[in-house]
């Protein structure tokens, strides 16, 4: 006779099985295939061929001179990696600086109005990523709103489109709600009596911010940072629309290998690299969160 | 009428978990509940009374032991095949169904025809005096009204036994007293065996035909309210039901010695060192023992006097409010009437 606990567990797994099966087939399983593909040779027209090799992995970082066969750092690749990391970090920083006051503002609204403000911040959150990117495009392109307004003041047209800055603006815009919402959740749980205690002990507003607010809402900051940094690192749509073909990030570079570049193994290797980078970032997140909880 | 509604629990034990962290919620519990009676399981939280109730309902299976309903062994029957229904502590009324549909739910699950269900629902609702609420939703009812609907729902399928899990604990005092009378009336009218769980000893004494006092997974005493109150079997029962003084004494023959004082007993009792249990309201003024007053508290309808016997044991007694207030430090003479003394084992 099976004991009731084992029976219950089997039952649970049976119920979860269909969902898990679909996920394994259409989400988790294919990741393993990518890993395998990164160790194969590019096929003649597309796809891959049998000989297993680490060539693709070499190509990620190094390039072979076509004349004398020497290996050197693949500058173009490294530029792309650096740009991706740089823009992701900057995006996280900008969204933090803009997001903190916004989250604080929403959390300090009277309860009846708060639902309205949350609704207002949620709409951009659920709006299509592409639409929001196109919207930024409308603003910063050469005949866009920004230049039109500048024109009224006699200032010259600014050529923002297809630069790193454009991509940065786009990503900050698109990912801002992801930073605001977790921080809002943390601030919502914040005990205002801590503030009163700090003021009672002669703290200035800035000191309160630095020594009381930020440490206590740290889990929210960490969560928001991860929710911005990870998608930024793997961004594809925004750099494509706002960066043109020149200012590629890892996502665009990966796509290139499956499009014009026709080097599937390299694309696969880059995808695995991105996955590792994300896993590292998540590991840092878990450590930072555990640290925050220990000190909190 | 009553054979089929007798409940017999034989040596039931219930263990949760395994190994060193296992909890023994019930330890070899046996009791027999007469059909058609109002039986109460009484005890502090954690004593196992709710576990026993769940065993009777079928939500738990005993680790050891049997449960018999009339002649039938129901130990292995799942709850939806046992002719026993429960009134839950939180009422557990279905929020998306109207009052009428809630009450008729059991009958619907049993596949009774719609006409029969409607008639029975109407009868149940009038039994608990909720006829005009038939189409209301649960959320629109007050706590007391929800309670009555929960009752009607559990009674509708005509179970052989009705289990009530602390149903009155969420109600305010006045409503509680009203419902106690209601429940008693319902039990008499339907003739169903009621098994009632509570931690409130006053409630138990008021309503029950018989009480099982439980503690730490064991039955401490089973008896009528009078038996339990006047003749507590051990220290736990004496302390849990009403208030009690516990005075160490030495019995020789029919005399109990407390220090230098002597008290006459009216029955043959075990000899040697014992504990005398006597309720504060039974202690009389007299000249058997002299005590020193420590404190007097005015209770409105009585005076509560806390005193100290010569051997240092504390004693509490009640005096009519009109009496002169004994001052702290003064001496008073006390008497412990034989019939009011209960002799318990020494610690």
């Amino acid at each position: 006779m099976t004991d009731p606990q084992t029976k219950a567990t089997l039952n649970s797994w049976a119920l979860a099985a269909p969902a898990l099966a679909l996920l394994v087939m259409a989400s988790i399983g294919p990741l393993l295939i990518v890993l395998v593909y990164s160790f194969m040779t590019p096929g003649d027209y597309s796809g891959v061929e049998r000989p297993f090799t680490t060539q693709a992995w070499q190509q990620v970082f190094l390039s072979r001179d076509i004349f004398d066969d020497t290996l050197s750092w693949a500058d173009a690749h490294l530029t792309i990696f650096w740009r991706s990391v740089k823009l992701s970090v900057l995006t996280t920083a900008i969204t933090f600086l803009l997001g903190l006051p916004t989250a604080w503002f929403i959390a300090t609204r009277p309860p009846q109005r708060r639902a309205m403000w949350l609704f207002l911040i949620t709409i951009p959150f659920w709006t299509n990523l592409l639409i929001r990117t196109i919207a930024i495009n409308e603003i910063i392109r050469s005949e866009g709103l920004l230049n039109q307004v500048l024109g009224w003041f006699g200032a010259g047209p600014v050529n923002l489109l297809y630069t790193d800055t454009a991509v940065l603006i786009g990503m900050a815009y698109v990912y801002l709600p992801m930073m605001v919402l977790p921080m809002y959740a943390a601030i919502d749980r914040f005990d205002t009596r801590l503030l009163e205690a700090a003021y009672d002990l002669f703290a200035s507003r800035w000191q309160v911010l630095r020594h009381v607010v930020l440490p206590v809402i740290r889990p929210g900051i960490v969560a928001g940072s991860i929710l911005v940094f990870v998608p930024s690192l793997g961004a594809y749509v925004t750099p494509r629309v706002l960066g043109g073909g020149k200012n590629m990030m890892i996502g665009n570079f990966i796509e290139l290998q499956f499009g014009q570049g026709q080097n599937w193994p390299l694309g696969a290797a880059l995808a695995v690299l991105l996955l590792i980078a994300v896993a590292l970032a998540l590991a840092v997140y878990v450590r930072a969160l555990a640290g925050a909880e220990r000190n909190g | 009428m009553n054979e089929a509604t007798t409940v017999l629990v034989e040596g039931a034990s219930k263990q949760f978990g395994r190994g060193p962290n296992a909890i023994l919620a019930l330890d070899d519990v046996s009791l027999s509940i007469e059909g058609g009676s109002f039986f109460t399981l009484l005890g502090p939280s954690g004593c196992g009374k709710t576990t026993l109730l769940r065993l009777l309902a079928g939500f738990e299976t005993p680790t050891r032991g049997r449960i018999l309903l009339g002649q039938d062994d129901v130990t292995a029957l799942p709850p939806n095949r046992r002719p026993i229904n429960t009134v839950f502590q939180s009422y557990a009324l279905f929020p998306h169904l109207s009052v009428a549909r809630n009450v008729g739910f059991g009958l619907k699950m049993l596949g009774r025809p719609a006409g029969q269900i409607a008639e029975r629902v109407a009868r149940m609702l009038s039994l608990v005096r909720m006829e005009s609420f038939a189409d209301r939703l649960v959320a629109q009812l007050s706590g007391g009204q929800q309670q009555r609907v929960a009752l009607a729902r559990a009674l509708a399928p005509e179970p052989r036994v009705l289990l009530l899990d602390e149903p009155l604990s969420a109600l305010d005092l006045k409503l509680r007293k009203e419902m106690q009378v209601e429940l008693k009336r319902l039990q008499r009218e339907t003739g169903i065996t009621f098994v009632f769980v509570t931690h409130d000893q006053e409630e138990a004494l008021t309503m029950s035909d018989r009480i099982a006092v439980m503690s730490a997974g064991r039955v401490q005493q089973i008896g009528s309210p009078r038996d339990i109150y006047a003749r507590p079997a051990n220290r736990f029962v004496a302390g849990f039901i009403g208030e009690s003084n516990f005075l160490p004494a030495d019995i020789q023959g029919k005399i109990a010695r407390l220090g230098n004082a002597e008290v006459r007993l009216d029955r043959d009792e075990p000899q040697g060192r014992v504990i005398l249990a006597i309720r504060p309201e039974e202690v009389r003024l007299g000249d058997a023992i002299t005590a020193r007053v420590v404190e007097t508290i005015y209770l409105g309808n009585a005076l509560q006097v806390m005193a100290e016997l010569p051997d240092g044991s504390p004693i509490v007694l009640r005096l009519p409010a009109a009496q002169a207030v004994p001052l702290p430090g003064t001496r008073i003479g006390l008497d412990l009437p034989g019939p009011a003394i209960q002799v318990l084992e020494a610690d």
Binding site: A26, L31, Y37, F105, T108, A135, Y173, G234, V278 | P95
Partner: protein, 271 residues
């Protein structure tokens, strides 16, 4: 005696920045919507209010086909995701001591933990091989892919609703002679419905909006609205794209509002 005006919760400059942020958040979207009503041909000059571009978008056969495809995929994927997520939630949420609970939970949320481009590439590779073997070229791949990444989004409101449900209700039903199937049909499912509806709606919006995975998994000619728009962006903006964007936006806002209202109503009626 005047009440103290010291507000402990006020931090200097924060309100101003917050308001500015809200303005900046909506400005681009409003601009986009405004431009969609531009009567003129040129994107720069305002040519009067007109619904021309909407008309042109509606008349465009490619756009219509893409719109239908988007709706078909979103409808199928959200239905599948909602059903699968409900089953999974029923298994996982109620069983506190389920062995391997953490692993199951991680698997369900996996799509949220991996960057979309990686999943997109992985599916491209995987489905390419399947296409070669079976020759099937239909929408099935897209629907399967969408359903998969919609599962975690559906799971969230369903499991939340299940956890908030009074567990004794199901015991009460069993006490009143209901079999497990009857309990599910009469008690669990009706009470779970708002969560399932919310899960389906969320999945619908997520699927409708997806760009990256769709872009990589689709075969030629299988454009959805977002991939169509992405393709158009290669040639620079056109008010037609703005018009389509505005319509998509309207659908999202309507669904979101419905979601909020249902949520509020059921939070009020919780007993």
């Amino acid at each position: 005696m005047a009440r103290s005006a010291f507000d402990a919760a006020r931090l200097p400059g924060f309100a101003a920045i917050a308001i500015a942020v809200f303005v900046l958040l909506y400005l681009p979207i409003v601009t986009l919507v405004a431009y969609s009503f531009n009567g003129g041909e040129s994107v720069a000059v305002w040519g009067g209010f007109s619904l021309d571009w909407y008309g042109r978008a509606w008349a465009n056969e490619t756009v219509k086909a893409a719109a239908v495809r988007s709706l078909v995929i979103a409808g199928s994927a959200s239905a599948i995701a909602a059903i699968l997520a409900t089953l999974a939630a029923l298994g996982i949420v109620r069983n506190r001591r389920m062995k391997g609970r953490g692993a199951a939970y991680m698997a369900i949320n996996q799509p949220l933990m991996v960057p979309e481009i990686v999943t997109a590439v992985a599916l491209l590779i995987f489905f390419a091989s399947i296409r070669q073997v079976t020759g099937y070229q239909g929408l099935g791949y897209l629907i399967a892919a969408h359903a998969a990444f919609c599962i975690p989004f559906s799971y969230l409101p369903i499991s939340a609703r299940l956890e908030g449900m009074d567990a004794t209700l199901e015991s009460a039903a069993a006490d009143l002679y209901a079999t497990p199937m009857q309990t599910f049909r009469h008690i669990t499912l009706p009470l779970l419905m708002p969560g399932v509806a919310a899960g389906a709606m969320l999945a619908f919006v997520i699927s409708l909006d997806d760009v990256v995975i769709t872009e990589f998994v689709k075969s030629a000619g299988q454009d959805t609205l977002p991939t169509y728009m992405l393709g158009q962006m290669r040639r620079g903006v056109s008010p037609e794209v703005n018009a389509i964007s505005t319509m998509l936006l309207a659908v999202t806002v309507v669904l979101l509002t419905a979601f909020f209202i249902i949520n509020r109503q059921f939070n009020r009626r919780k007993s």
